[in-house]
Subunit: 226 residues, 2 copies
Amino acid sequence: MRIAVLGTGSAGRILAGRFAEVGHEVTIGTRDAAATSARTEPDRMGNPAFPQWQAAHPQVGLADFAVAAAWAELVVNATGGAESISALTLAGADNLAGKVLMDIANPLDLSLGFPPSLLVKDTDSLGEQIQRAFPGVRVVKTLNTMNASLMADPGQLAEGDHTTFVAGNDGAAKQTVTALLESLGHRDVIDLGDITAARGSEMFLPLWLRLMGALGTPVFNIKVVR
Amino acid sequence: MRIAVLGTGSAGRILAGRFAEVGHEVTIGTRDAAATSARTEPDRMGNPAFPQWQAAHPQVGLADFAVAAAWAELVVNATGGAESISALTLAGADNLAGKVLMDIANPLDLSLGFPPSLLVKDTDSLGEQIQRAFPGVRVVKTLNTMNASLMADPGQLAEGDHTTFVAGNDGAAKQTVTALLESLGHRDVIDLGDITAARGSEMFLPLWLRLMGALGTPVFNIKVVR
């Protein structure tokens, strides 16, 4: 499958590398591919400059958001939650129309320090905002309840014996995403319902952040025991 | 230990019965014990009238909030989140002073139908509101992430192999609560940190509610896999 991963941060990189590893064609989308390719300094999160990463992953392409989205069969939103709508607008509603969009972003407000609060919650969610802004796109909220390393390779923890959620209005899109997740090693994918269930998975983030502090590692996940 | 459980709803009843079963002295606190004892109709949640329940649990006492709180060594807030501050005010700051208060309530706004939204979130929590309103009380937020039946008897699901959280400012109070939880069968109690971590466990509720819908049962819990 041709997968565009929008976002050059650690989540985008790790997922893009993993998708390529399991046999997909992958292009990372960015605001300005020429500028991203010219970077020499680490990004604001301390990740190595993108060209360094790409040199180690030559099978992953890089293109402007719109070019990547137009080319792809499935698009992953791995941009920061605060920038997702503007990134998707650059990707272009026409380029996204009819396609499955895996939205893995969280609407974190990092402007006031740690722990971040949520830019939207309770009666709305980023997943719903994206679905409303791009009604022709088949949005599936998923993976936003774990760190990027586990998104890409869940088998590294307890042989993958933990839970992943999907939420969205399009059943076939959720099936496509579920199959893709299972190909990465996700063994327990729970369908939470329509896209409004993104409220639930996004509002899990405050507990996730506390758990990261308590456990001293981001490499954990929840398993729904039933 | 002398335990006062404030609240006559299903959570209060189930916990009170279980505390008595494992050997504690237990009194349920209510706004007006005479009125509660005179009830003949099911409550608004459909639970049998309190006297019916008490007839089957004669070892559990019933008293006004203040009498129960004054008598107790440890107090459990099992009132509805919207009524917790007023119930604790009736219990009396002097009667609660210095005591451990297990706060198991969630600040659900049930006035607008299902699913409920949260009355407080993100930058505050019910646990913190209670701690601020009663600075002399040693508040420990716990058990609010699962249904009442699992709070009381976690061993009924996967032999108790799932997770319970505590949050509070007083380390000794959290130790007391953790030991009490373990005596009920809770095997994995994670200390999330100070009372501000109640934001995390209370904001889990929207995900919990979606999971209840997806799974078709409230008898599930999360295990933190690490």
